[in-house]
């Protein structure tokens, strides 16, 4: 589904991604773990074309996408949920969803407002509420719903649990499992190992712009030194 090989990216002169390779198969939930500043968000942006990669290959649904503009990547069915949520604060919930709307794609679950409100019941009550007047958790739900309106087959979720209350984190885990049940692939970046364990099938660990580990959640759970070295604060 999504495959990244030897990806390099720079911010100005700073060499942030130093040869990242990873993969997410169809229907799989994969976690990209790492500390603050390890390169998780940069990897997401580089895959999405928001930060054009300097070197490396990104393939999605059988096509090379590393040179495409972000909107073309999105139209191929790769959804992106940014870390800072980036809700359109002046627009209502329904209008935010409208901006995300794209044509249905064959073989991929097609989302409508009704189906999204079933998945995120909190949003249903807030249809006409401007995005700027919602709580952090509601905004996080909205930003995922907005991306789903594009009917993606794979979603990049950048730190979905960050800054959320424990109850909301619980809901978030539930939603991600629901997406997996729909057959979507998910690549999520996380610092929260506990949360990742609850949703992901496999994990990568990134440190200083390089992948240090790739394997199943079970392998990661068994290896305390690995967690100690790359994840503990």
């Amino acid at each position: 589904m999504l495959s990244v090989k030897n990806l390099h990216a720079y911010y100005g002169r700073a060499h942030i991604l130093q040869g990242v390779s990873l993969e997410a198969k169809a229907g799989e939930v994969v976690a990209l773990l790492g500390r603050n500043g390890a390169g998780k968000s940069t990897a997401m942006k580089a895959i999405m074309g928001l930060l054009p990669p300097a070197e490396g290959e990104v393939s999605f649904a059988g096509r090379r996408i590393e040179r495409l503009a972000p909107y073309r990547i999105a139209r191929l069915g790769l959804g992106y949920v940014p870390e800072e949520r980036r809700i359109f604060t002046e627009l209502t919930v329904l209008e935010n969803l409208e901006v995300g709307r794209q044509m249905p794609r064959p073989g991929v679950p097609a989302w409508t407002e009704t189906r999204l409100f079933a998945l995120f019941p909190n949003l249903a009550r807030l249809r006409e509420r401007p995005g700027g007047l919602m709580s952090g958790g509601e905004q996080q739900m909205l930003t995922i719903a907005r991306t789903l309106m594009g009917n993606p087959s794979c979603v990049l979720l950048d730190e979905p649990s960050e800054g959320l209350a424990p109850v909301v984190v619980e809901q978030m885990a539930h939603s991600i499992r629901a997406l997996k049940a729909e057959g979507l692939s998910v690549l999520l970046s996380e610092q929260n190992l506990h949360f990742s364990r609850a949703v992901a099938d496999r994990a990568y660990i990134i440190e200083k712009g390089q992948i240090r580990f790739g394997g199943s959640m079970a392998e990661l759970a068994a290896d305390a030194s690995l967690r100690e070295q790359y994840l503990s604060v």
Binding site: Y80, L91, E95
Partner: protein, 624 residues
């Protein structure tokens, strides 16, 4: 004033307000989504008027011909807007915002010459709207067409609101106004969205122009006049607020209409000519509104727009070897060239200092000025008046003039540094325009539109070459002084304040005071440039304070590149020389100049000097 005549002025004002609103709404829409201040919006309005004139001639002066012509003209102008977006702006969305401004200004020059070529220099008076007579109200006859215009404003406001609130396009436009990168990541093709926004914005400008054909002759000066009005309306109303623009358009059009209507009034024994205030009144309103409500009547504090722009590179002081080469060139060339070269070089020296002073506030200090000519022109006028009216020796007038210009900068700057970004730029424009109208209209003191003549340098400077060396020395010292300041702690504070005002303040720096000081310093040196320029020409006219002079300064700085110190100087030299060459050899020098600027913008999005530096850097890397 009697009740009926008040009513007439009221209706007259409201009829003008509609067109003003249409142009401003288009400008505001385009700025919101693309972050481009479209200087060419006034030119689109002008094209609307000319287009309607020609189309009515072609389609016949019948109601059907008239209205088809108006609508067709608006649509054609919309297509011109699309062409500007697709051919020029789309290529430079990643360039610094100021560079996009420069590009739209080049478009102004091109459109002006195209209009001159197509319609000639004479004013074209359009026909009355067929089928519209006049209506009698309170014993006065009022054109029925004016009443229709008054209705069109609110109708367009309503339609635009519906479009923005009820359609997918509207949701995309509002979303892109806040975060266009995110809109792209959701699968929306920004290029197509921007093109559509340009189309709608340009149609509004064209419609605004076309609708005025029965009331206002088409002429070539409309472009800058209308863009200044539209800036004022947009800023007074609040950027991005259609309702605000509507209110502001009415407020300003009414104020103007009443100034004309009141005419001359005797108050406390002095004669006040209100009709002369029409040129100033809108800028006074803008000044007052911005001081009271920094984001306009209905505007909100702008959300810091997400830009993928890179941080300004560190300034480097020019290497002395390079500077020495230039100095030798400037010293030797006049010995070889003829009188004409000496005059050109004198102009270049003056404009180089003018551009360097503008760069000082807009580059390192981060305050873009659309009205820097105020200080250049006021310096020139101060020199001329001290010399002619106060009878001071020429040398004293020349050296005192910068302080007069500085005094104005103290006052204007105090207001300006309270704002930032586009709002600040617009306020500088307002002050420049106020200065211009005072100079232009105060016949008894400044000799009005004729300007002041007979201001020649003292005998020892009367030789053109000697005067050139004196100017070179003065301006050279001024420029080097500005450069030195930038590498003093004062300069560091300015750059810190530009890059991160909050952090600078947290360090205990009063950013605003420093900006104010920078504003005054730049004003003084621009004044010096103006004074030296005045004596080199022997005369000075209001055009030295005009919007045109301010934009010339902007073009010089941006052409050379705002990120280097030598850029503005090179830009001034190139621009002055190019304009001179083109004006001598071709009728359409503006169009050629515009095309040259466009070419440079498209090839060197960092300015000439920045672009050359990048090229040299790449060449060095390739060799290493």
């Amino acid at each position: 004033m009697s009740l009926p005549s008040i009513l007439i002025q009221l209706l007259n004002g409201l009829a003008s307000a509609s067109s003003l609103f249409l142009v401003s709404a288009g400008l505001s829409l385009i700025f919101g989504v693309t972050r481009i201040v479209n200087f060419a919006h006034g030119s689109l309005y002008m094209l609307g008027l000319y287009g309607a004139y020609s189309l009515i001639e072609a389609l016949g002066r019948t109601p059907l011909g008239f209205w088809s012509a108006v609508i067709l003209a608006a649509l054609v102008v919309g297509l011109v807007g699309v062409a500007i977006e697709v051919l020029v702006l789309r290529r430079i969305y990643r360039a610094p915002e100021l560079f996009q401004l420069l590009a739209t200004f080049a478009v102004v020059l091109v459109i002006k010459d195209v209009a001159l070529f197509a319609w000639g220099p004479e004013d074209l008076v359009g026909p009355r709207a067929p089928g519209f007579g006049s209506v009698e109200i309170l014993g006065k006859r009022i054109p029925a067409y004016d009443l229709l215009l008054i209705a069109i404003g609110p109708v367009v406001l309503g339609v635009m609101r519906l479009l923005l609130k009820r359609t997918r396009w509207g949701a995309l436009v509002r979303a892109a106004t806040q975060d266009r990168e995110m809109v792209g990541a959701l699968g929306v093709d920004q290029a197509r969205l921007f093109t559509s926004v340009f189309f709608v914005g340009a149609v509004l400008a064209g419609l605004g122009g076309a609708l005025q054909i029965p009331r206002e002759p088409a002429n070539l000066d409309l472009d800058l006049a209308v863009i200044a009005d539209a800036f004022v309306v947009t800023v007074v109303g609040g950027l991005g607020s259609l309702g605000g623009a509507f209110l502001a358009a009415i407020l300003i059009a009414l104020a103007k209409a009443f100034c004309i209507g009141i005419g001359t009034v005797h108050l406390f024994g002095t004669e006040i000519v209100f009709s002369k205030l029409t040129l100033v009144v809108e800028f006074v309103i803008m000044g007052v509104v911005l001081v009271l409500r920094p984001y306009g009547l209905r505007g909100k504090k702008p959300a810091t727009p997400r830009t993928s722009g890179e941080i300004a590179p560190a300034l480097t002081s020019p290497r002395w070897q390079v500077a020495a080469c230039w100095m030798v060139l400037f010293l030797v060339v006049p010995l070889l060239g003829d009188r004409y070269v000496v005059v050109l070089l004198t102009d270049i020296a003056c404009f180089a200092l003018f551009a360097a002073s503008l760069h000082f506030i807009m580059g390192p200090a981060g305050m873009v000025s659309f009205g820097h000519a105020a200080y250049f022109g006021l310096g020139a006028y101060a020199a001329a008046l001290l010399f002619k009216r106060a009878g001071l020796p020429m040398e004293a007038a020349l050296l005192l003039a910068p302080f007069c210009a500085g005094l104005f900068a103290v006052v204007y700057g105090w207001f300006c540094v309270r704002l930032s970004g586009v709002y600040l730029a617009m306020l500088t424009l307002a002050f420049a325009q106020i200065s211009w109208s005072i100079v232009f209209q105060w016949d008894s003191f400044t000799d009005g539109s004729n300007g002041i003549v007979g201001i020649w340098p003292s005998a020892w400077l009367s030789d053109k070459s000697v005067y050139y060396y004196m100017t070179l020395a003065l301006c050279g010292i001024g420029i080097v002084f500005l450069w030195r300041v930038l590498f003093s702690p004062f300069g560091y504070v300015l750059r810190a304040g530009r890059d991160s005002p909050l952090r600078a303040e947290a360090l205990g720096i009063d950013v605003r005071s420093f900006q104010w000081a920078a504003f005054v310093l730049a004003g003084m040196l621009a004044g010096l440039a103006g004074a030296a320029f005045a004596f080199s020409k022997g005369s000075i006219s209001p055009s030295s304070v005009s919007i045109g002079q301010s934009t010339d300064g902007l073009v010089m700085v941006l052409l050379g590149g705002v990120e280097t110190l030598t850029g503005p100087v090179v830009g001034a030299a190139l621009f002055t020389w190019l304009r001179d060459e083109l004006a001598r050899d071709t009728q359409s020098w503006r169009a050629v100049l515009g095309l040259v600027i466009l070419l440079i913008v498209l090839l060197f999005p960092q300015g000439l000097v920045g672009g050359l530096k990048a090229l040299i850097g790449r060449w060095r890397e390739a060799r290493a």
